[in-house]
Structure formats: structure tokens, C-alpha cells
């Protein structure tokens, strides 16, 4: 599981995260919501070991991201919102590179990579350079790279940007499948409709502070005016962040 305790991050004079506390359990699909600049990306970057917190800690299955960053990195997969990849590698080579870096058995890689390329409709372009891939194709390739590794925690930052409707559908099914096998999915998104349908729990962050947390239904209730009317997560989000 993931445990974030009193996490604070200060950039120069700006407090990007202010005493953030969160818990995400095994097999949960967790939505991390918030307006632009709220601190979502900073949080996932700290969780993935890309940047270090100013204070506080983040434990991934008991391993501290500050004290044991390499061990945490082995457990976690991170997909950023901008899928920057090595433009002069082919799709197949990129997946081999990721497989090698994460110490995946070579025979398994050779068997699995063609299947993954097929799964994401990239078989035809698998041997072409990534500079010719579109944004969506790169995003799919990164998801394929995650599946090759089978990590215990996956951090997504706006995962569906650039994906076509068919791929989004496939992606959603995939998340359910992974979560059912115990993988923790932590997802930053602005697509509240997707978060509402897909996620089991969510937290809302604003100006670096967690302002609401709980199951999707709990968040909807928190955002309601008390009249008992049925409202969407989007309405609740707007009320909570504006209030």
C-alpha cells in the first residue's frame, strides 16, 4: 500500500505541497483531483522518486521513497502527462530498453513485447522510430511498457490525453483488470466523469493541501448542499474547490 505522511514540498518561495496525508490500499483505483497548479504532479513525482520532498515521507509497501528510493522505483511505474521518449529508438527497441532496465527476463520480453504491441494496435509501427509516433501512440507505448514490467503501483498523470476512444475503453478495462489483481492505480486526472466511473476512492488537492478525501460517494455527499439532490462528481468538485 501507499502511505503519504505530512508530505511538504517547497520550490524556492512557493509551497507546492503542504502537509499532505494520504493512504491508498492494495487493488484500489485512486483518483487524485485538483485544479491546475494544485500539486498533483508534484505529488506523483515525489512518489515515483523523481523529486524529493522537503519534509514528510512517502512509503510504498513499507519502503521509504527518501531512504530507499531504488527499491521504491522497482515497485512503481510512472507515466507522465507528456510522453517524452527516445525519438531515435523504435517502439520494439524502447520496450526492450525498459525490459532490460527493469531486469525482465529476456526470453519473456521477446515473447511478450509483440503481444503488447498487438494489444495496443502498434504492431505495424513497432519497428519504426518513435519520432514518427503520434502523442497517443507514444502514450499507448508507455502503457505497454508498464504492462511489460507488471509493477505493484502505477502512477498516471493525465493518462488518457491523446488516446482515441477505442484505446480509452481498452485502457479502462485494463485498469479494472490490474486492480483486480492487486495493483494500486494512482491517477491524476481532470476528466471527472472517468474518475467517477472508474475509481474507488479519490482525494481533492487545492493549493498544496488535501481538502477532501474518501470514496466517490463520500466526496459527492461532501459537495452537496444538504438538500439530498443527486449530483455528479464534477458538481461536487467545483463546490469543494470553490468553497
Amino acid at each position: 500500500m501507499i502511505e503519504i505522511k505530512n508530505l511538504t514540498k517547497v520550490f524556492s518561495q512557493t509551497k507546492a505541497l503542504d502537509n499532505v496525508n494520504l493512504k491508498v490500499g492494495r487493488g484500489e483505483i485512486f483518483a487524485f483531483l485538483g485544479p491546475n497548479g494544485a500539486g498533483k504532479t508534484t505529488t506523483v513525482k515525489i512518489m515515483s522518486g523523481i523529486i524529493m520532498p522537503t519534509s514528510g515521507c512517502c512509503l510504498v509497501y513499507g519502503k521509504d521513497v527518501v531512504k530507499d528510493v531504488l527499491a521504491v522505483k522497482k515497485e512503481i511505474a510512472y507515466i507522465p502527462d507528456e510522453p517524452f521518449v527516445y525519438n531515435k529508438l523504435s517502439g520494439y527497441e524502447f520496450l526492450r530498453f525498459i525490459g532490460d532496465i527493469y531486469n525482465i527476463d529476456v526470453d519473456f520480453q521477446k515473447k511478450e513485447i509483440p503481444k503488447l504491441l498487438e494489444m495496443f494496435d502498434l504492431s505495424k509501427e513497432g519497428d519504426e522510430l518513435l519520432e514518427s509516433y503520434s502523442h497517443g501512440m507514444r502514450q499507448k507505448l508507455l502503457i505497454a511498457a508498464v504492462l511489460l514490467r507488471k509493477p505493484r503501483v502505477i502512477l498516471f498523470d493525465e493518462p488518457t490525453v491523446g488516446l482515441d476512444p477505442k484505446s480509452i475503453k481498452k485502457f479502462k478495462n485494463l485498469l479494472h483488470e490490474l486492480a483486480s489483481k492487486g495493483t494500486i492505480i494512482f491517477m491524476c486526472t481532470h476528466i471527472l466523469e472517468m474518475a467517477e466511473k472508474l475509481c474507488t476512492k479519490a482525494a481533492i488537492i487545492n493549493s498544496g493541501r488535501i481538502i477532501a478525501e474518501g470514496s466517490i460517494d463520500e466526496l459527492k455527499r461532501k459537495g452537496s448542499s444538504g438538500g439530498g439532490e443527486k449530483q455528479s462528481l464534477e458538481d461536487a468538485f467545483l463546490k469543494i474547490t470553490e468553497g
Binding site: 517524452f84 523504435s90 532496465i101 527493469y102 522510430l129
Partner: protein
């Protein structure tokens, strides 16, 4: 609309300057001071040369104008070639082009905006580099302020005409063959031409110009001096304009200035008219990727990584970097230039007028310093930027369980080993050409192997202290403050190495000249210990600081 496009550049520059931090102001002041010092040195060299030429009896003034004509012709050719290379990027691959093309801007204004970038980027360094020459010329010939005014008025159309060649070439070639492969081929042809001209120029032994007796017939030499240097090119018009100005022939000056101005206006009117028809198609075509079919067999490093397990991660990053290196045409162009550099270097060594065996050996020893400078410069281009060149893809390795040290070691292997190979070639063949004795050959060979490894580690270390993953090209990385610091450290290191080794070398020559007890082994031991300490310091400090900084670096 064009004014609006220009205003955005002025505004960006203004904001950048106004928001300089104190640290950035200090860095800029240091940078400008060192740059000015280097230009002053260049000025001093030119002044000495022009002063010497001017005072040669009878033909002195003709000689200095001949040299000016050649300098301007070379400058013109260099701007043409660099505008070909640069216009491919500015006109078709600038990061803001997709946005600008989506805006309701007339094609000609967009083209003019990017042409201005091309003119500026392809000429500013050359203009700065010939400025000391022009100042030295003005001083030697006692010209006043009016000369500078006329020079600056005439140099602008001169630069514009030179850059127009590149702009026109890129636009036509991209229109005819609209693909990103065209850019790669143009870059390679461009660098091959530069390399070829460079080698040819050196092989033609221009030093004969200041040694008239080298030519068999003096009359032939004087004829050569008086003949125009490429009379139909703007470089000759500019030279003639300056000559006319100097001799007070205002009518001739006005005529040559008119040539420059009218040709530049005509060329740009034509190019801008053509851009309405050609630019859009070329830009669209440039966005199409190159068809590439890779194969799926294992790479050499992948096979090796399964056999040598503890180096596995290094081998993995090495195969990735090797592929990226070999598939990027920008690096091929650099390699072409380095091969030219090696050829010219060895040719210059061969041409040195040395007769005594001992002088040859001494020059072989001093050659370590020169080769060291060349290696430091090559490292600045290839090794120092290695970490930063991970670019925006750095998140992949940063979020992976690859240690920072492993990443840096892999970069060292991919970029440092070829640099070491160049160093070994330079020193080995220089020693052969100079027929250096065994002691000097051994000492210089061992030194260059150790030193090239040390400066490569230093380059990776300092590159990791000053990483910049947002830079778009190598030139920006190497001309950064980190690049400047690296060059200063590497030069200082080579100065210390040569200084330190000069003691045992002195003893070696003393022995050759028959001095009894020439060797003082206490001093030799001191040199050896200091050499070890120097190398360890030059390796460990930048490396450790680089590792620590890269671990802390946030993206």
C-alpha cells in the same frame, strides 16, 4: 503583423534581461569579460600580422588588402554554409513554428521572421570574430570613426546576401524533396563542404602569402596580389568599398555600397515572393518522419550484459545511447568536422620547419598541450553535453532503478572512449611524423591516454553539475556557463600536466646533452606523486559533485 512578430522577440529578450537573478548577472559579467579578453587577444594577433604586412616594402599595403579580401571571402563562404545548416532548423523545425502556422499570419511575414533568425544565428559569431581584424586593420591604416560607420553600413547587406544563399537553398530543396531526411542530408553535405574547404585551405599552405620567396617568380606573386579575390562575389565588393573609402574615392565607395544594397534588396524581394509558393509545402513535408525499419536481433551490448552481470545496467544505457548517437545526423556532421580537424592537425605537424632531432622531440612533448586543447574542445562538444542530452526523456531513467553513477558511467563510455581514440591518434601519429625519441614517445602517449580519460570524467562530472534537460540543441549546452567552466578546468589541468612533466623532460634533454647526474629522482618522485594527486583531484571532485547534484536535480 511582421512588427508584431518582431515585438515578441524584443519582449522575450527584455523580460529575460529584466528577470536575471544576481547569480545570472555575475555569470554574464564573467562570460562577457572572458569573451572580451579572448577577442582582445585575437585583436593583438591580427594587429601584429597586419602591422608586419603593412611594413613590407613596396607591396605592404597591397598585401594587407589582399588578406582582407581573403578574410571576407572566407567569412562570406562560412555564412553561406552555416545559413544552409541553420535555415533547415529555423525555417522548418523551430519549436514555435506549429503554433505560428496555425495563426492567421501571412506566409511572407512568417517567412521573413524566420529568415531574420537565420541571418542572425548564421552570422553573429563570425561577425564578432572578424571585428578584431577590422579594428586592427583600421588601426594599422589609421582610419577614423567614419571607416567604422561605412563598414557597419556595408556589412549588413553583405551578411544578408550570404545568408540568402542558405535560405534560398533550403527553401528550394525542401520544396523539391519535402522530408525530414532532406534536412539530414543537407546537414551532412554542409559539414562535408566545410570540412573539405577547411582541409583544402590548409593543404594549400596559406603561410606562403607572407613568405613571398616561396613563390618561384616574384612578378607572378605581385600579379596574384593585385588580382581581385572572387571579383563577382559580395566579399570583393566590400573589400573594394573599404579600399575606396580608405583612398578617398567616394564615388567608387558609393558604387560598391550600391552593389551590395541593391543586390541584397533584389535577392530578398525574390526570396520572399518565392516563399509564398514554396514555404508552406516545404514545411508540411518537413513534418513527415523518415521511414525506418529496425530489426529485432539482440545488440552486442545486450549479449554482453547477460555475460557480465554486474555491468548490466551500464551496457543497457550504452546500447540505448549508441543507437541514439548513430541515428542522429547532427552527430555525423560533427564527426566529419573532427576527421577534417585530425587531417589538418597532422598536416600542420608535418609542415613544421624543424631540423634537429632534439627539437622534434621537444615539440612532440609540447604537442601534448596542443592535443590536450583539441581534446578538451572535442569533449566540450561530445562528452560535456552527454548528461543534458537525455533531454525531456530524462524522466524515464530518473524514475527507473538505475543509479546516477551508472548513468554517468554509461555516458562516459559512449562519449569518452571515442574522444580518447582521437587523442591517441593525434599524439601517436604526431610522434611518428616528428620521429620523437622513445622516452618522449612513451611519456606523451601515456600522458594523453591518462589525461583524455581524466578530462572526459571531468566533462561528465561538470556536465552533471550543470545539467539542462530543456535545451534543444548541443550548441546551447556547450556554450552554457558549465561548458565554459569545463573548458577553463580542462585547460588549467593540461597546463599543470605539461608544467609538471617539463621537469623530467628537462632532465631527459640534459642527459642527451651529456650533463652528468642529469636525473634527480627526488624531483621525479615529487612530479609523479603530484601527477597522481592532480589526476585524482581532477577526476574525483567533478565526478562526486556531479553525482550529488544530479541526484538532487529536480525535473
Amino acid at each position: 503583423m511582421f512588427i508584431l512578430l518582431c515585438r515578441r522577440k524584443i519582449l522575450s529578450l527584455k523580460n529575460k534581461i529584466l528577470h536575471f537573478s544576481r547569480w545570472e548577472i555575475i555569470k554574464n559579467i564573467v562570460f562577457i569579460s572572458v569573451g572580451t579578453a579572448l577577442l582582445s587577444l585575437l585583436y593583438y594577433g591580427f594587429w601584429r600580422l597586419l602591422n608586419y604586412l603593412e611594413n613590407v616594402e613596396v607591396i605592404g599595403p597591397v598585401l594587407s588588402w589582399k588578406l582582407t579580401g581573403m578574410v571576407l571571402l572566407i567569412t562570406f563562404a562560412m555564412i553561406v554554409v552555416s545559413s544552409i545548416i541553420i535555415s533547415m532548423t529555423t525555417l522548418y523545425y523551430s519549436s514555435d513554428l506549429k503554433f505560428l502556422f496555425s495563426c492567421p499570419i501571412k506566409m511572407r511575414f512568417l517567412f521573413m521572421d524566420k529568415s531574420m533568425d537565420t541571418i542572425f544565428y548564421s552570422s553573429w559569431t563570425l561577425m564578432l570574430a572578424i571585428l578584431p581584424y577590422i579594428i586592427a586593420l583600421a588601426r594599422v591604416k589609421n582610419f577614423g570613426i567614419l571607416f567604422y560607420i561605412s563598414y557597419f553600413a556595408a556589412i549588413i547587406p553583405f551578411i544578408m546576401i550570404a545568408a540568402a544563399f542558405g535560405i534560398l537553398f533550403s527553401m528550394v530543396i525542401m520544396y523539391l524533396f519535402p522530408s525530414s531526411r532532406t534536412r539530414d542530408i543537407t546537414w551532412i553535405i554542409g559539414s562535408l563542404s566545410v570540412g573539405f574547404v577547411y582541409v583544402l585551405f590548409r593543404f594549400s599552405r596559406p603561410e606562403r602569402l607572407i613568405r613571398p620567396n616561396a613563390l618561384e617568380v616574384v612578378a607572378q606573386y605581385i600579379n596574384y596580389l593585385q588580382s581581385p579575390t572572387a571579383e563577382y562575389l559580395p566579399s570583393w565588393w566590400l573589400t573594394k568599398g573599404m579600399m575606396s573609402f580608405a583612398s578617398g574615392h567616394w564615388g567608387d565607395f558609393a558604387l560598391y555600397f550600391f552593389y551590395l544594397l541593391s543586390v541584397s534588396i533584389m535577392v530578398y524581394v525574390f526570396i520572399i515572393w518565392l516563399s509564398e509558393k514554396f514555404y508552406q509545402k516545404g514545411f508540411s513535408g518537413a513534418q513527415s518522419g523518415v521511414k525506418f525499419r529496425g530489426n529485432r536481433s539482440d545488440f552486442f551490448e545486450q549479449k554482453l550484459s547477460t555475460k557480465i552481470g554486474f555491468l548490466k545496467e551500464i551496457f543497457i544505457v550504452v546500447w540505448k545511447d549508441r543507437l541514439l548517437f548513430l541515428r542522429d545526423a547532427r552527430y555525423w556532421t560533427q564527426i566529419v568536422l573532427i576527421v577534417s580537424l585530425i587531417l589538418v592537425y597532422l598536416f600542420s605537424i608535418k609542415q613544421l620547419p624543424l631540423d634537429s632531432q632534439n627539437i622534434k622531440s621537444l615539440v612532440s612533448f609540447l604537442n601534448v598541450g596542443v592535443a590536450g586543447f583539441v581534446i578538451a574542445a572535442i569533449n566540450l562538444r561530445f562528452v560535456f553535453p552527454a548528461v543534458s542530452l537525455e533531454g525531456k526523456s530524462y524522466w524515464i531513467l530518473r524514475s527507473s532503478p538505475v543509479k546516477t553513477e551508472t548513468l554517468m558511467a554509461a555516458k562516459l563510455i559512449v562519449s569518452g572512449v571515442p574522444a580518447m581514440l582521437v587523442a591517441v591518434i593525434l599524439v601517436f601519429f604526431s610522434n611518428k611524423l616528428l620521429e620523437a625519441d622513445f622516452f618522449i614517445s612513451f611519456l606523451t602517449f601515456a600522458t594523453i591516454i591518462i589525461s583524455s580519460i581524466v578530462v572526459s570524467v571531468m566533462a561528465i562530472g561538470i556536465g552533471a553539475i550543470f545539467p539542462d534537460f530543456s535545451m534543444e540543441n548541443i550548441h546551447q549546452i556547450e556554450s552554457s556557463y558549465g561548458g565554459f567552466l569545463y573548458m577553463a578546468c580542462a585547460m588549467g589541468y593540461f597546463a599543470l600536466v605539461v608544467g609538471l612533466e617539463s621537469w623530467p623532460v628537462q632532465m631527459h634533454f640534459a642527459q642527451i646533452y651529456g650533463r652528468p647526474n642529469a636525473w634527480d629522482f627526488e624531483i621525479v618522485s615529487f612530479c609523479l606523486i603530484f601527477f597522481i594527486i592532480l589526476n585524482l583531484t581532477a577526476v574525483l571532485i567533478p565526478w562526486k559533485m556531479g553525482v550529488r547534484n544530479l541526484k538532487k536535480h529536480e525535473i
